[in-house]
């Protein structure tokens, strides 16, 4: 008689008992508080602000961050569990909105002063403030080294002028971890400042109307002679480019998780539909062509997920995975492109209308190979490291 092992599954050493319990907690939050409302929120292109507070109270926003700042330290798979279960909301936009903390605060935690952490990290982890990351500009996103927003030092403050675009949580954000030019016209002249939305001269566009990620408030930000205290500089002046690059690794991992889960949910939905829907007198799953399509989708999803886990495990062990995480992101996005397409195909007309989850997954999926570094930029990174 097999004795029960500590981890629920002998083949997956990535997840142990704590991960299972965390998964269960996040799943319950999603099932009770999010799923019953998500269609309505998506249609209204928002979600209630109080969800940040609920997520903060549950401890969900602080996973992976120091206990001293209200966080819950844990390995990389704890973060993965949270990301996977949030994706069960079937709304990439909601996950991106709640998740903007994860692209905005890591540089402050890594390079910020104690005072900055108290002001700009603790309340974000608690769900009392919303944080966003501002890198991309109307002039370009891929070419980060070429950004145009300027910050000129004048005594105890910087005078900031310029604009940012496509900023996730941009409409509601209280603070932006913002890339600005403080020096030479290249990668060595960029700094990170925390810009607070209340600063005179700060304004945003209305929420941008997007293909997908409807629940997320994406905005343009305008900086007109903002006075930002020098004490809001993160780390050293002109080192911002490197801080941004460091930050990208975890963002790309989160995007892998989003892509894998988008594909997995689309697959599950398609499998269910294929057994229920009948055509020519038998269920869709009665056709070999459908079964094979589903088999192929399942294979792709499985392979992508396992590769992501493997790369994550190496990141967790402190092994440099810049090349591999770029590969994982591209692979996962290719898989979710294909699987969401096929899932819509299996649904037929029902997959093209908003009542079906696959319709949303198909739209939400499109951003994944653009944000956090495009497919082409990933390939640039991979080819340089080959």
């Amino acid at each position: 008689m097999a004795d029960q092992k500590d981890s629920k599954n002998d083949f997956q050493h990535y997840f142990g008992k704590e991960h299972d319990l965390v998964r269960k907690s996040v799943r319950e939050l999603v099932q009770k508080e999010i799923l019953p409302n998500i269609d309505e929120w998506e249609e209204k292109a928002t979600f209630p602000k109080k969800l940040y507070k609920m997520a903060g109270e549950l401890g969900l926003l602080g996973v992976g961050y120091p206990e001293e700042l209200g966080g819950t330290p844990g390995d990389i798979f704890l973060k993965i569990v949270v990301g996977e279960e949030l994706m069960r909301s079937t709304s990439g936009g909601l996950v991106a909105g709640l998740g903007s903390i994860d692209i905005a605060i890591p540089p402050i935690i890594r390079k910020g002063t104690e005072e900055q952490k108290e002001r700009f990290v603790r309340p974000v982890i608690a769900g009392d403030r919303i944080a966003a990351l501002g890198i991309t500009e109307p002039g370009g996103g891929s070419d980060v080294a070429n950004l145009k927003t300027t910050a000129v030092k004048k005594g105890d403050h910087y005078l900031v002028n310029g604009s940012k675009t496509f900023i996730t949580s941009g409409v509601r954000a209280d603070q932006i971890t913002c890339a600005v030019r403080t020096g030479s016209e290249n990668a060595h002249g960029i700094s990170l400042l925390v810009i607070e939305s209340g600063t005179p001269g700060y304004s945003t566009s209305p929420p941008m109307k997007k293909t997908g990620w409807w629940a997320s408030d994406t905005a343009e930000l305008y900086f007109d002679n903002l006075k930002v205290p020098v004490s809001n500089l993160i780390g050293e002046e002109n080192q911002g480019f490197y801080y941004i690059m460091e930050n990208f690794q975890s963002e790309r991992l989160q995007l892998c998780i989003m892509a894998n889960m988008t594909a997995r949910i689309a697959l599950e939905q398609a499998m269910k539909y294929a057994t229920e829907r009948e055509a020519f007198g038998k269920p869709l799953s009665g056709f070999q062509v459908t079964r094979h399509k589903l088999a192929e989708m399942a294979t792709q999803v499985e392979v992508s997920q396992e590769f992501t886990y493997r790369v994550a495990a190496k990141m967790n062990a402190g092994i440099n995975q810049i090349k591999e995480i770029s590969m994982a992101k591209n692979f996962a996005c290719q898989v979710s492109d294909r699987v969401t397409f096929d899932a819509v195909q299996i649904f037929g007309g029902a997959g093209y209308v908003r009542e079906s989850v696959v319709e949303r997954l198909y739209r939400d999926n499109r951003i994944l190979s653009i944000g956090g570094g495009t497919t082409e930029i990933m390939k640039e990174i991979i080819s340089k490291l080959m």
Binding site: A2, D3, K17, E18, V22, L58
Partner: protein, 255 residues
């Protein structure tokens, strides 16, 4: 006050149980905190929050039940006691004697909470036997609980939507059921902290409990597949007529 919560390590209610060796089952399925015990933990935590003291989780089970002790500690509780046994099935009289001994050895209870029944064996005996062994009052199927100055007032469901209100003196044993409180999903930091809470592991044998061995598990059998339920249509008279006909002709339980 020192409040004990008896928590059983049970197979997931959604698990597919395979009988092996006649009277055992395959334990490679997922195990969970007995669902009713979650309400017990919730109530104990609230009580201690109000009155001060500590909540101690007590579990009798195989060494693998440690996962359930940790899961219980994530929901609430300050420390745990795992009483280890090799037996897959421990009868209620022995369980109650072992729990009593372990609780007394640990310092004795100001209050004891448990679930009204275990989701696996469904004996509904442990609460009563434990209370009898300890000479304490007991109420189970409890859906309402309050405590003030050594007096406990509980509400229990008695069917037909009616509730019975019982007053007891503490210490007493309260068997929780669904509705006693809302089980909150454990907070993530609490899950991680549960790992660090102390758990005292003791061997059941070392407690030298002498159970009478009144019950023996002879065999476990798979519940036969149920045939499809039939809905009887029409008026009450028609439905009863059909039912009698079915019982006589199909089920052949009536002459």
């Amino acid at each position: 006050m020192r409040v004990y919560v008896c928590v059983k390590h049970v197979p997931d209610t959604a698990a597919n149980i395979k009988v092996v060796g006649g009277s055992g089952f395959d334990e490679s399925v997922k195990f969970i905190v007995n669902p009713y015990d979650e309400y017990a933990i919730g109530e104990a935590s609230q009580l201690v929050k109000k009155e001060g003291g500590e909540v101690v989780i007590v579990t009798l089970g195989k060494a693998s039940a440690m996962t359930t002790v940790r899961a219980a500690l994530a929901i609430g509780g300050d420390r745990g006691i795992l009483i280890k046994t090799d037996k897959q099935f421990v009868e209620s009289d022995e369980t109650a004697l072992i729990l009593k001994k372990a609780i007394e050895d640990d310092g004795g209870a100001d209050m004891i909470f448990a679930g009204k029944q275990a989701a696996d064996s469904e004996g509904m005996q442990t609460c009563y036997r434990l209370a009898a062994n300890l000479g304490m009052p007991v109420a189970t199927e409890v859906v309402g609980f309050s405590y003030a100055g050594g007096k406990v007032v509980v509400e229990r469901e008695i069917g037909g939507g009616e509730r019975e209100v019982i007053e007891m003196t503490a210490p007493c044993v309260v068997g929780a059921t669904k509705g006693l409180n809302e089980v909150r999903y454990p907070k993530l930091p609490d899950i991680m902290k549960a790992k660090k809470k102390p758990v005292n592991e003791i061997d059941a044998g070392s407690l030298k409990v002498d159970a009478a061995g009144l019950v023996e598990l002879v065999a476990l059998e798979q519940v036969p597949e149920r045939s499809n339920a039939k809905m009887l249509e029409g008026s009450v008279t028609e439905a009863v007529d059909t039912l009698v006909k079915l019982l006589r002709d199909e089920a052949k339980v009536l002459e």
